[in-house]
């Protein structure tokens, strides 16, 4: 199966007055047709910038300095960011769902207008058929009384419902890929469960590829086939979801898993093992591995050589670490 969207060696820098922020530093990942992948990392690791770069939504002082973004084999970074070809991709072929539905929906337009706009532009629908399709979409995402509520404004909906509207909007033009950037971070856990189940059902049914960008490893565990873990602008580990959880091979991934409390642990049975220190300043990046100051596995070689490239440690499993962290440790 050929990847439907493939990002190759993407580098995005922000040229600020304090220096160059290396937000994304040579990142590659792909998603196959109908596949669900997770892009996991903490704030500032470059996960959002990497997907925004793929959509050419980076604004000055940011700049995509190198790399290719292949959509069905064609490099869409070559398209003019404001040109017609890119517009057809953005929202049409590749759709996005953002974190905060209150800021990503326009507060002065009814949700009908916001849904039909894309349909009219990308699918050349007339007003009435676009409206009918919008109602159908709202039904599909489980918005009660869709026909009656379609002319309401975003503030008249709860956070969970607004996020359903965002999902409807993303699905509206039958995209090949949906990129969901922290889709459930702003909502409560029971709403999060509702939304994740809904997204999973819909993309599976429509055979759409889905990229879930999140800081929460737990969120992706149930749904994704493969995971990419990012740290300080690079991918430090990637592989099939079960491999990553059962047999993590990068110290950062291991640290992330040890530092979160698990449900059902008895009080005092386990002390959390935090990752000491802080993520590095992306302006003053060390030439060596950026995780080195916080790493508990470090060896002499880590201090002497530049940040290691990803190397294969299992089937489809890659880690950017010199140390051979034993299996089942």
């Amino acid at each position: 199966m050929a990847p439907v969207l493939e990002i190759q060696n993407l580098t995005t820098n922000f040229y600020t007055e304090y220096g160059t922020v290396k937000a994304v530093d040579g990142v590659s990942y792909y998603v196959d047709e109908g596949e669900i992948i997770g892009l996991v990392g903490e704030s500032g690791c470059g996960k959002s910038v990497s997907v925004l770069s793929a959509m050419q939504l980076i604004q000055t002082p940011g700049r995509i300095d190198s790399g290719r973004v292949l959509f069905k084999g064609e490099d869409i970074l070559k398209y003019d960011s404001k040109g017609e070809k890119m517009s057809a991709i953005r929202g049409g072929k590749i759709a996005m769902i953002f974190q905060e539905p209150m800021t990503s929906l326009n507060p002065v337009l009814s949700i009908c207008r916001q849904l039909t706009e894309a349909l009219e532009i990308h699918l050349d629908m007339d007003i009435q058929s676009a409206r009918d399709r919008a109602i159908e979409l709202l039904h599909m995402v489980g918005l009660p009384e869709a026909a009656r509520r379609i002319d309401d404004f975003p503030h008249q909906f709860s956070g969970g419902m607004r996020q359903r509207v965002m999902i409807a909007m993303a699905l509206s033009c039958n995209p090949s890929v949906i990129i969901a950037d922290e889709p459930t971070t702003a909502v409560d856990v029971t709403t999060q469960a509702q939304l994740l189940e809904l997204m999973n059902d819909l993309v599976t049914r429509l055979h759409t590829s889905l990229i879930i960008v999140t800081h929460n490893l737990g969120v992706v565990a149930r749904y994704v086939q493969r995971i990419y873990v990012m740290y300080a602008g690079r991918i430090v580990e990637s592989g099939p979801a079960e491999e990553i959880f059962e047999n993590p091979r990068h110290p950062y991934t291991i640290g992330l898993m040890r530092s979160v409390p698990r449900l059902g642990e008895k009080r005092g049975s386990r002390k959390l093992i935090p990752i000491d220190g802080m993520p590095p300043d992306l302006i003053f990046m060390p030439p060596t591995c950026a995780f080195l100051p916080r790493c508990t596995y470090k060896i002499e070689r880590c201090r002497e050589e530049p940040w290691p490239a990803l190397r294969q440690v299992g089937e489809k499993h890659y880690t950017a670490c010199f140390v051979d962290i034993g299996e089942k440790e």
């Binding site: 903490e42 704030s43 009660p144 709860s158 969970g160 419902m161 409560d188 856990v189 029971t190 709403t191 999060q192 469960a193 509702q194 189940e197 800081h215 929460n216 490893l217 737990g218 969120v219 565990a221 149930r222 979801a241 079960e242 959880f245 059962e246 640290g255 992330l256 898993m257 040890r258 530092s259 979160v260 409390p261 698990r262 449900l263 059902g264 642990e265 008895k266 009080r267 002390k271 959390l272 093992i273 935090p274 990752i275 000491d276 802080m278 993520p279």
Partner: protein, 327 residues
């Protein structure tokens, strides 16, 4: 719930906190937001009581009532045996010396123009705890206690990272050596790798100083990790209250079960096979809560009786309290 005992540092009985909704120029009273609607519980000395629930369930309001930042609509709150629910500000001052508060957002809860040292010394000044040099000693000691370098006292909040800022917030809460600390979502604004640092710090401080915590959070996994007992709130009421272990091993209230099953477990093998209870619909408005049990419109087990009377929070044995007719 039970008569006041000596080892109960906080005893809350039938607490109600309604916020009036007003309309028009004359601010006509047209209704109430029933943020907290008749809850009773106690906190034992030196324990951690977790208060968990989704946004709008009244957990923060409960914490603020205990701090007496609000004057409760009804009910009593006793702290160390004294009824503080209707005390005046002047009487509250010595009470508040024994209470500390840690807030969610370390960015907005610290004054950006004050130095870290002066932020921590504010409560000391309010309570006249020592002269300048004594205060400097206390501040240096507090800095060390929360894992910050005492040489950084002259810095302002934006020079610290999120985790460090939360440490300043903790130092401020502990400045007057309180016995009770209300932790209101103390880690939810922090990055995952930093959260564990703060949880561990809170646990260490509790042991060292013999603190009592009311730990308010929406993340049940975190609450369970740190708490001895956990109260689950929904729409202004306590649905279930029991020990941390019992809550996980033997959850009885349908809402607790749904909440537990909604929490993602970072393990695909378990996660993909376990049954997830997806609640239907949304949380009703606290201005107009459903009659009877507040959870009944979304409950799988609901019967007609559930919409009639409010099920009492009853002890089903071993200090396991549950508010459900069907259990």
């Amino acid at each position: 719930m039970s008569e006041a005992k000596n080892d109960h540092i906080v005893e809350v009985q039938h607490l109600k906190m309604y916020f009036p909704i007003t309309r028009g120029l004359l601010r006509r009273h047209v209704g109430d937001i029933k943020a907290v609607d008749d809850i009773s519980f106690f906190i034992k000395n030196k324990e951690t009581l977790g208060l968990v629930g989704e946004s709008g369930c009244g957990k923060t309001t409960t914490g603020r009532c205990i701090l007496r930042l609000y004057r409760p609509t009804e009910g009593t709150i006793s702290f160390n045996g004294d009824d503080i629910s209707h005390m005046r500000e002047k009487e509250l001052k010595p009470v508040r010396r024994n209470m500390g508060a840690i807030f969610q957002d370390p960015f907005s809860s610290l004054n950006p123009r004050q130095t870290a040292g002066s932020i921590i010394s504010d409560p000391l000044k309010v309570h006249n705890m020592g002269n300048k040099s004594e205060m400097d000693d206390i501040i240096a000691r507090l800095f060390k206690m929360v894992g910050l370098d005492p040489r950084m006292t002259d810095r302002v909040p934006h020079e610290f990272s999120g985790g460090q800022r939360q440490r300043i917030g903790i130092a401020r809460a502990l400045a007057c050596r309180p016995s009770l600390v209300i932790c209101d979502e103390p880690i939810s604004a922090l990055d995952v790798s930093i959260q564990a640092q703060i949880i561990n710090l809170l646990e260490e401080l509790q042991e060292e100083l013999g603190l009592t915590y009311l730990f308010i959070a929406h993340d049940l996994a975190v609450v369970q990790h740190i708490s001895d007992r956990v109260a689950v709130m929904y729409l202004g009421r306590i649905m279930e209250l029991t020990s941390s272990e019992e809550l996980y091993e033997n959850p009885l209230h349908p809402y607790t079960r749904a909440l537990l099953s909604a929490i993602p477990i970072p393990n695909p093998k378990i996660e993909r096979t376990r049954h997830r209870i997806v609640l239907k619909g949304e949380v009703p408005s606290p201005a107009n809560p459903p009659p009877g049990c507040h959870f009944h419109p979304r409950c799988e087990l609901a019967i007609n009786d559930c919409s009639v009377g409010v099920p009492p929070l009853r002890d089903i044995g071993g200090g396991h309290y549950v508010s459900c007719l069907r259990v």
